[in-house]
């Protein structure tokens, strides 16, 4: 136990300290149905400031923008498009409802596979193989099995800085997905760990429960903290 404290203390002292206060996406979009789809689809190629800066334009403009985004490579099916347009034209439209009137958002079914398509596939790709140099693979990624809680931290708080996966270097920024519920994050992690070739390595002991996700939300960490944790746990 003492050795590990020392190890962590060394890691802390070696690296530059800088106060991080935000763990969630720096742009907090108004709460409403479809919001999470926007977080899932609209942060791959740019950050949400484009959306925030465009707030107030009408439904026809958002509709044209969705067409535009498809031209740039954003992928969504007809249902997703409808949901995106509904959210954008309402909550980022000319007359957004006041926050109190947003009402309860019915949580999605917490189905790992559909959540993956909605939230993760735009970067990590449907086949889980990522994009060399840009987005790490999830299929066959040893990170998923080296530490039980690491994927939960990554989803809650993001991950930034250089990492190596199967000998390949990545130096990007994964945003936080803290907008997802505990059940959704658990379902996603369990899905990713048991999908593609990962199913060969999956064991019941790796199953994450929603309550465990809830447990990890506070205190909020930053993506740099998650990187440090990863380094520590993977001893890389």
């Amino acid at each position: 136990m003492k050795v590990h404290f020392l190890l962590l203390a060394c890691v802390v002292s070696l690296l530059l300290g800088r106060a991080e206060v935000e763990a969630a996406d720096p742009f907090e979009l108004p709460r409403g149905p479809g919001r999470q789809l926007v977080y899932g689809k609209c942060r791959t190629c740019h950050d949400l400031q484009y959306l925030v800066d465009s707030a107030g334009v009408d439904a026809a403009t958002w509709d044209g923008l969705l067409d535009d985004m498809e031209g740039y490579g954003c992928e969504f099916d007809a249902t997703e498009r409808e949901r995106l347009l509904a959210y954008l034209s309402t909550f980022l439209g000319p007359t957004p409802p006041p926050a109190s009137a947003a009402g309860a958002v019915t949580p999605s079914k917490a189905d790992g596979a559909s959540l993956f398509r909605e939230q993760c596939a735009s970067c990590h790709q449907e086949n889980g193989r990522g994009v060399p140099g840009d987005f790490p693979p999830l299929d066959g990624n040893p990170d998923l099995f080296a530490d039980r809680l690491l994927p939960v931290y990554v989803l809650l708080f993001g991950l930034e800085g250089e990492i190596t996966v199967n000998g390949n270097r990545f130096d990007g920024v994964m945003p936080a997905f803290s907008h997802l519920s505990d059940a959704e994050i658990a379902a996603l992690v369990n899905h990713i760990r048991s999908n593609w070739s990962n199913r060969v390595r999956f064991e019941p002991a790796f199953t994450i429960r929603a309550s465990e996700v809830a447990d990890l939300r506070e205190p909020a960490l930053g993506p740099g903290d998650v990187q440090a944790y990863r380094r520590l746990r993977l001893a890389r």
């Binding site: 962590l8 800088r18 190629c45 465009s54 735009s122 740099g224 746990r233």
Partner: protein, 421 residues
Amino acid sequence: MAGSNDRLGITRREFGVLAGGAGVAVGLAAGAPHLALAAGKANAADLIPGKVPEMIVHNAKLGVMETPLELLRQHRITPKEIMFNRLHFPIEGERSWTASLKPVERPEWTIRIDGLVTRVRTVTLADLEKMGTTEVETVVQCAGNGRGFFAAKAKCPGSQWHHGGMANVVFEGVPLRPLLDSLDLGASSQVRYLTVGGLDDPPTPKGADFEKSYHIDDPALDRAILAFKMNGEPIPACHGGAVRLVVPGYYGNMNVKYVTRLLLAAAPAPTVFQARAYRVPLHPVEPGEMKVSDFNLQNSVPTYGFRIKSVIFAPLASDKVAAGPVEIRGVAWNDGNAAVDLVEVSTDGGASWKAATIEKPKSPFAWYHWSLKTELPAGTHTLMARATDAWGRSQPLDGTAMWNPKGYEWNGVDRVTVTAS
């Protein structure tokens, strides 16, 4: 309550205390630019080291930032530290090399000239550096500069630039047409377009490469250069080094960055960046008439030459103005095809105008500096400036008259409200 981790026996709370709970970020020192992307308040200096923190960030992930006019007005030649920046793809991952003011360290930089030619040629940076070069002082301006002002009629989506999406710099490079001639390509008579592209490619497999196409006979290509120096140094990575096509007088997107391929073709490039983006309707349209996705080759033109424009540099709303004699000054420019020979200034909201003194630059593509000495009594005044060139082209009193769905090419008469006391 805190759970515990299986393997190494550190509880989650212990980690939290050491790593984050104490407020000390265990961040990656070398990755400081990345920290800014996720940290909350994006700081320009963290995104692109060397950029001043006062830059106004429009999109951290893409390194898009605007220069406050209070800074821009301090230099006749805009230093790279304060020059606006606009990239189309994330400045992370495979493209993190673009988030830098340093030169691009790729000594084997090679440009391939291909297409409907008899002989494909390659030219390296080393080749270019040995050739005769031209220097050109030119305004660089984002097509979206001023987009925020269109909101007076109807907001246009995207970054709400004010005036700081522009700079005045000196590029040095090899003139394009003589280079192409010297390469003896044996181009087909079917060639109608030159398409220029390079390392500006998207991170996603289904994304579109950044390329721009020019009519092969476009007179603007007569003054285009393949630039490898800006302000006397190798072009910084974020500004398009090692080689950038510079077409003086054209909006910024047409100065293609990271040039590695020139394609002589019969048609323009199909990429959205040419076929749909950075295009203006053939005539101004009313909001709702046309969607941002409705642009095509028939109903629009690319953002070619700068619309004539003038910007007040002083006094700005942030300046303290003493009642009495005051010097109003600023800059003006156009596409370089005719001299800007009149800048009129009003201090009474347009009721009366006086001609300012103009300092004509050596380069027709650079900023003209203008100034007017006048009197401002105590009170609030709306200052306006309006430029006209030798061809009679001028600025609309109400810039929203040129409204277009993407909010490009703003050139309305500038208005600054100041209080003299």
